[in-house]
């Protein structure tokens, strides 16, 4: 048992190391990790600069979330898509380690670089604003911010399974990207969306986590009906649910692709 856990941890470490090396070796990653957050931050600031600091902060949190989505969630799925394109999915799946641990290693790296993206947004807006954005509870905010990233990573793991399942997962994720921005309240409150879509929004951990972040950071912000603690419980519950289903989804998807035989399709 201990040997198996060690072996899986090693695989996770190897995957993390390869993700970092691939990131450093590939200049195209500068766009989602460094340039996109700057653009998201500046555009949001310029759109709301004449309004109250509260509204600016609201928009900036959404912008930070969008850049983190790109890096954490999209990156996790995309890396598995790359395994398909490179033809490395077959040799990786033929190794003794469950593929889930390879994905987890990548997700850790994408989480770190997602944090970097979020931090860049705040730094850029802070510079444009002339001083640091006024956060009501900075320490709690940072802790929750890290949790938000983890909640994105949990969704990212499930998305990765889609890339193992089919070579068309990229299309689905590209289409879903803007729906996710809107549906989770990155751009504007979900209460502005049609009522029927609200339960769908609540299936995603970032909806809860982002609302909790805003309650914490913006004085006078009320958010969803159940308040900060309700948001937090919802965020933790949905994140745990995503992590739990990720393991099951991965083992089923692995079995499915071995049945269908589409591992080398790209």
């Amino acid at each position: 048992m201990a040997a198996r856990s060690y072996s899986r941890l090693r695989s996770l470490g190897a995957s993390l190391r390869l993700a970092v090396l691939s990131f450093l070796a590939d200049p195209q990653w500068l766009i989602p990790s460094m340039i996109a957050p700057v653009i998201f931050g500046l555009v949001s600031y310029m759109l709301f600069q004449g309004t109250s600091p509260t509204l600016v902060l609201y928009a900036i949190l959404g912008a930070g979330m969008m850049s983190m989505w790109g890096q954490t969630l999209y990156g996790s799925g995309w890396a598995t898509g790359q395994d398909r394109n490179l033809g490395t999915l077959e040799p990786t799946l033929s190794a003794p380690t469950p593929y889930l641990y390879v994905v987890l290693g990548r997700v850790i790296w994408n989480t770190v670089s997602g944090l970097l993206g979020g931090a860049i947004v705040f730094a850029v807006v802070g510079i444009a604003y002339g001083r640091p954005l006024p956060l009501a509870n900075p320490l709690e905010f940072v802790l929750l911010f890290i949790f938000v990233i983890l909640s994105l990573a949990a969704v990212g793991i499930v998305f990765s399974a889609a890339y193992v399942y089919t070579r068309y997962a990229g299309f689905i994720q590209n289409i879903g990207e803007f729906a996710f921005y809107v549906g989770t309240g990155c751009m504007f409150p979900i209460v502005l969306l049609p009522f029927w879509s609200n339960p769908v929004s609540l299936l995603f951990p970032p909806t809860w986590a982002l609302d909790a972040l805003r309650i914490l950071a913006i004085p006078g912000y009320h958010g969803l009906a159940w308040g900060f603690w309700g948001d937090l419980i919802g965020a933790v519950a949905t994140t745990v649910a995503y992590l739990a289903i990720a393991g099951t989804v991965f083992s089923r998807v692995e079995k499915h692709v071995l049945e269908v035989g589409n591992l080398s399709d790209w």
């Binding site: 090693r10 190897a14 190391r17 590939d26 040799p91």
Partner: protein, 327 residues
């Protein structure tokens, strides 16, 4: 399963389903394997030959746990390839080869390090093993170069290095010398022999007949999803009618003369080919008594005959078997 069998399959079938049509509502099934029974002995180099699309890669993937059979049963190293896949994977190696299958942005050494960790190569041995396999495939000098800078042959060598990194007991090699220059191909064959000397069983698929003939103790011919022959090269030559071949070339043979050739003592198979106006009859011969002069003497009307005698090659055997199955 005999105690020395490394691989044993029984009735392996595999079909692929593809969705077609405007709404993808039409399912087209293709049978890649139609009941494969096979036994590979421990410590041998077993060759699997077959034309493109015969099912070689499908069978290799099933045996290496990358694909589930639709029907049938397969055991590798005494383990069921479906139920015991997690226990089997650390004990086998797979080399699929080709341009793809490697992380191009990082070095060969980093590729190997990654897979060493996935295969659980002990950390203390990892660096040494990587150096050793890079040396064995001749990539030491390029070890720290990015794989994207590699030629096809170098990538092929790296695939092999990855396949042997964790010291598997059984290695699946799917066309290992494809894309290699003659020198590298020869070195690869030497490496394969050295692996067998180390006790590794090799399951090799190839299109190069001389390679199979040079390396393999036993050879199976797979065509249209079925094993049509499985024996040593000598055994296979008996199957197609003899280890000697006589080629008789000339112009304007009539039916009676063809019948004379067919009825010559020891002739078991007669093939006909046209080269413009020139016609070649290829005779598989069982006995040593039938020689070019005796063939010439049996066709006194043909003074311009060109008759060549040679050993029946694996390529002859292969083509006979595949053509027979196609017919």
């Amino acid at each position: 399963m005999s105690p020395s069998a490394a691989i044993r399959t029984h009735g392996i079938r595999r079909s692929y389903a593809a969705r077609k049509g405007f709404l993808f509502n039409e399912i087209v099934r293709t049978d890649a394997l139609k009941g494969v029974d096979l036994e590979v002995n421990s410590g041998e180099i077993f060759g699997l030959l077959g034309p493109n699309g015969a099912g070689k890669t499908t069978l290799t993937k099933i045996l290496s746990t990358l694909l589930l059979p639709t029907e049938g049963h397969a055991e590798v190293l005494g383990l069921d390839v479906v139920k015991d896949a997690p226990r089997l994977r650390p004990r086998i190696g797979l080399v699929l080869g080709g341009e793809r299958g490697l992380y191009n942005r990082v070095s060969a050494r980093e590729n190997l390090r990654y897979f060493a960790d996935l295969y659980g190569v002990p950390t203390a041995e990892r660096a040494g093993r990587i150096t050793e396999v890079l040396d064995r495939v001749g990539l030491t000098e390029s070890a720290d170069r990015r794989v994207e800078e590699f030629s096809r042959g170098m990538k092929q060598k790296l695939h092999i290095a990855r396949g042997i990194l964790h010291r598997p007991e059984l290695l699946f090699l799917d066309e290992p010398t494809i894309g290699l220059d003659p020198k590298s191909a020869r070195e690869t064959r030497k490496l394969v022999r050295s692996l067998v000397a180390d006790g590794v069983t090799i399951f090799l698929t190839t299109h190069y007949m001389f390679e199979a003939e040079e390396l393999c103790q036993r050879i199976a011919v797979l065509t249209r999803g079925r094993i049509v022959a499985n024996d040593t090269v000598q055994g296979l030559s008996r199957l197609v009618g003899g280890d000697r071949t006589l080629e008789v070339e000339g112009y304007g043979f009539d039916d009676a003369e063809v019948e004379v050739l067919r009825r010559l003592p020891g002739v078991s198979r007669l093939k006909y080919e046209e080269f413009g106006p020139r016609i070649r009859y290829t005779l598989r011969v069982r006995t040593s008594e039938l020689t070019p002069p005796t063939v010439q003497a049996s066709l006194p009307g043909h003074r311009e005959l060109a008759i060549r005698e040679r050993r029946t090659s694996l390529e002859d055997i292969y083509l006979d078997l595949v053509e027979e199955e196609a017919a």
